[in-house]
Symmetry: C2
C-alpha cells in the first residue's frame, strides 16, 4: 500500500522534495498543492520589476516541471490549514488526509504592523507585485515627461527602496541604471540624470549579512552608480505622496510616487494554524530532522521554518537552504517508510551573492570573498544555472546579452490592471 | 517656423506616419499621443492569449522605436476629442492646437449592442485582454483537473470562439493544440482529448474574406485538428455558464467557462467627436487623399477610417493598409507644407493570410493561393519580418522553434488580477 505524501508549495523546497519522492513510484503517491500554477525563480524577480525580464522568463508551470514523475500530481488550490494531530490539511474543497506532509509555503512581507503601507509600497514576492512595481516605475517617468510643475516633476523622478538587504540593493541599482542608460535617449522633457534613487536602511549598514568588507564595497559601488544610500534611517510613514524618514538627527520627507518595500519578511500565515511554537518572524520551530516536535510525519522547511544551528542562530531564508531541506525531508520520508531512523539535516553552505549593477556584484563563499566584475560574472553564471528549464535559460541569457550591448531593457510595458480598459 | 503635427495612436498607421515625418526635422515638430506606452503587434496577440508568447515579445515601447527621430516626441496621454473646426485635440490636461493631425486610433470590439456579454467573452484587442483570456483558458483546465462532477468537468473543457475570421480561426486552432500537444502529459485526472473547441460563425462560411477554395481548405484543416466548426450559427446569448446558439433548425446551449469574442469590430469612439459622417461600423468616411471632407489638414487612417475603393467596397482593416496610409498621409503633409497638391492614396494589395495550426495555414496574394505547409512557412516568415525590433524577432523565432520541437508552449502563467493577493 503506497503512502500518501502531501507537499504544500511549489517553490524551491517543495519542488526539490517532489522530485526526490518522484523517484519512488512504488512507495509514494505525492500531491503537490500550490495557489499558483508556476514555480517562480524569486532571485530574479527584481529584474521583472525593473523591466529587464518578462514574467514568463522566470516562471515555469509546476505541472511541466513534474510531468515526468508519474506518481506526482499537482493541485492548483489554496491550503487553508494544517492539522498535525489529525494528519490532515484543509482546502476550500474539504479535508485531505496524509501519511506524510512537507510544508514549504515560504514567506511574505511584513510591514511591522503597518499593513496600510502596502498600497503605497508593494513588496517583491510575486509576479503580480513585480509587474505592479514595473508599472509604477515606468508610469512615474512618463508623468515626469508631461509634468510642468517643477516640484511634482522631481517627485515623479524620486524612487525610494526600503530595506538594504540583497533585494533592496539589487532593485535600487537596477532603477538607477534604467534612468541613466535606457531612458536617457527616449525622453525629450526630462533629464534622466535628475532621477534620485534612495535606498533606506534602518540599521547601520547595508548588506548586513555579508562581511564588513563586502558591505562597504557594496555601498561604494552603489554610490558610484548614483544611488543615495541612507543608513540608520527609520521609515516612520509611507503614503501616496511621500516617505517620512527619521535618522539620529532629524525627521524629513522624501516626496515620491514610487516606493518599493524590501524590508522585513514573515512566514506564511498558515503557521498560525499548526499549533506549534513559532519565532518572532512567525517561522515554525523545527527539529533537526526537519519535523515538528511530536509529529515525526509532518515536515516544515525553507522560509516557513526556523532551523536552529546553535542557540542563537538560525539558517537564513535562501534558496539553497530550501532546496537542500526539501531533498533531506524526502530522504527522511523514504527512511521512515522503510522503517529506518530519520537523520539530522546538515546545511552545506553555498554562500551568498548580490548584484549591484552591470559589472558590479558582491559574493562570499566559505572563506572566499569577491566583488566587482568577477563577482558579477559569477552571479550571472549561478543564476542561469539555477534557473529551471533550458528554454528559460536561453531566453534570459539572450536578453541579458542584449541589454548589455544595447543598454536597453527588454520588457518596458505599462500594463493596465483592468483588462476592459 | 516649423509646423506642428499631432499623431493619435502608436499602432501600425501612427508609427509609420511618425517615422516618415521624423525624416523632416526642419519642417515639422511631431507629437505622438497614445494611452499606452507600447506599440502592439496585434497579428500575434492570439499567441499571447494561447500561452505561446509573452506580452513583451510582441510589444515594444513607442519611445524606443522613435528615439532616433529628434523632432518626434511621445506623449502618454488619452485623447478625448478631435475638433477639426478649431484644429485642436482635447486631453484630460487641456486642448492642444495642431497644423496637421493624423488620427490612427484603430478599432475595438463590437458586441452588436450586447455590451453585457463582454465580461463573459473578452475580445482580442489589447495585451490585458489577451492575458485575461490566457488566464481563463489555463484556469479552465486546472479546474477540470480537480472537478469531480462529470458535467462540470466537461463544461470546463469546452471552449467557444465566436467569429470565423482569421483571429477566430487562429485562436480556435491554437486552443485545440494546447490541449492535444502541450497539456496531454501534464494532467493526471483529465483526458485532454475530451477538450471541445467550438468555432461559431453567423455566416455560411469561415474565412469569408478568402477565396471559396481557401475558405474550404481552412475549414477542412480546422476539422482535421479537432475544432468543431458551427456555421450559419448565431450567438443569441452569453453568460457565465454557457453560450446559446441558434441555427436554421434549433436553439441550443454550449456549457462553457471560456468564451472568446472574435466577431465584430467598430471604430474608436473618438470618431463620435469629429462631427463627420461615419459608416455602420463607426468608421469616418475619408477622401481619397485620406483627409476629412473640408478639412485638408486633418487625416484619419487605418481601422478608424472608411476608404472607399468603389461605390460598395472599402479597404479592409489590415496592418498593410494602415502602414501604407500612415506613410501616404505623411507624404501629403510634406507636399502641403511645401505648397504642393496632395495626392490620392492607392493601396498596394499585400494579400492576406491566416494560420490554422502547426504546419497549416492559408494565404492569398494577387492571383496566387496556397494552403498547408507552404502557406504556414510564409506566414511565419512574414510575421517575423513585420515584427518590430531585432530582439523581439530573435525571441519569437526561438520560442516558435522551441514549441515546434517540444510541443510545449512558452508562457503558461496564470497571473492574478489583484497584485496584493
Amino acid at each position: 500500500m503506497k503512502k500518501k505524501v502531501l507537499i504544500i508549495g511549489g517553490g524551491f523546497g517543495g519542488l526539490s522534495a517532489a522530485k526526490a519522492l518522484g523517484s519512488y513510484p512504488d512507495l509514494f503517491e505525492v500531491h503537490l498543492y500550490d495557489r499558483r500554477n508556476y514555480h517562480l525563480f524569486q532571485p530574479l524577480l527584481y529584474q521583472v520589476a525593473t523591466a529587464g525580464l518578462s514574467p514568463s522568463d522566470i516562471a515555469v508551470p509546476i505541472r511541466s516541471i513534474l510531468s515526468g514523475y508519474r506518481n506526482v500530481s499537482v493541485v492548483l488550490e489554496e491550503v487553508t490549514s494544517i492539522n498535525p494531530q489529525a494528519k490532515t490539511i484543509s482546502t476550500p474543497k474539504g479535508e485531505v488526509a496524509y501519511d506524510y506532509l512537507i510544508s514549504a509555503c515560504g514567506s511574505r512581507h511584513s510591514y511591522f504592523g503597518k499593513d496600510e503601507w502596502e498600497d503605497f509600497a508593494p513588496g517583491l514576492k510575486t509576479l503580480e507585485m513585480a509587474t505592479e512595481i514595473r508599472r509604477r516605475i515606468l508610469t512615474s517617468f512618463e508623468s515626469a515627461e508631461i509634468e510642468t510643475d517643477a516640484q511634482e516633476k522631481q517627485a515623479a523622478m524620486n524612487f525610494v527602496v526600503i530595506g538594504g538587504g540583497p533585494t533592496g540593493v539589487e532593485t535600487a541599482g537596477a532603477i538607477i541604471e534604467i534612468a541613466t542608460n535606457t531612458l536617457a535617449r527616449d525622453f525629450r522633457n526630462i533629464n534622466p540624470q535628475e532621477t534620485k534613487v534612495y535606498l533606506v536602511e534602518a540599521g547601520p549598514k547595508i548588506l548586513a549579512s555579508f562581511s564588513s568588507d563586502l558591505s562597504r564595497s557594496g555601498l561604494e559601488d552603489l554610490q558610484k552608480i548614483g544611488v543615495q544610500v541612507l543608513t540608520n534611517s527609520m521609515v516612520v510613514n509611507v503614503d501616496d505622496k511621500k516617505v517620512t524618514i527619521k535618522n539620529q538627527t532629524e525627521t524629513f520627507d522624501i516626496p515620491t510616487r514610487t516606493v518599493i518595500w524590501a524590508a522585513g519578511v514573515k512566514a506564511s500565515s498558515l503557521n498560525q494554524t499548526i499549533g506549534s511554537p513559532t519565532d518572532r518572524a512567525g517561522r515554525v520551530m523545527i527539529k533537526s530532522d526537519l519535523t515538528l516536535p511530536n509529529h515525526p510525519e509532518t515536515f516544515v522547511i525553507g522560509d516557513q521554518a526556523n532551523f536552529l544551528i546553535d542557540e542563537k542562530h538560525s539558517l537564513p531564508g535562501l534558496a539553497p537552504v530550501a532546496i537542500q531541506q526539501g531533498r533531506h525531508a524526502a530522504k527522511n520520508i523514504v527512511r521512515s517508510a522503510l522503517g529506518k531512523n530519520m537523520k539530522s539535516f546538515v546545511y552545506f553552505d553555498k554562500g551568498q551573492m548580490a548584484t549591484i549593477g552591470t559589472k558590479l556584484a558582491v559574493m562570499q563563499f566559505k572563506g572566499i570573498e569577491a566583488h566587482g566584475f568577477i563577482a558579477w560574472i559569477s552571479w550571472l553564471f549561478v543564476h542561469i544555472m539555477y534557473l529551471i528549464g533550458f528554454k528559460n535559460r536561453v531566453l534570459v541569457m539572450f536578453q541579458w546579452f542584449w541589454s548589455y550591448i544595447t543598454f536597453n531593457r527588454g520588457s518596458r510595458l505599462i500594463m493596465q490592471k483592468d483588462w476592459k480598459k
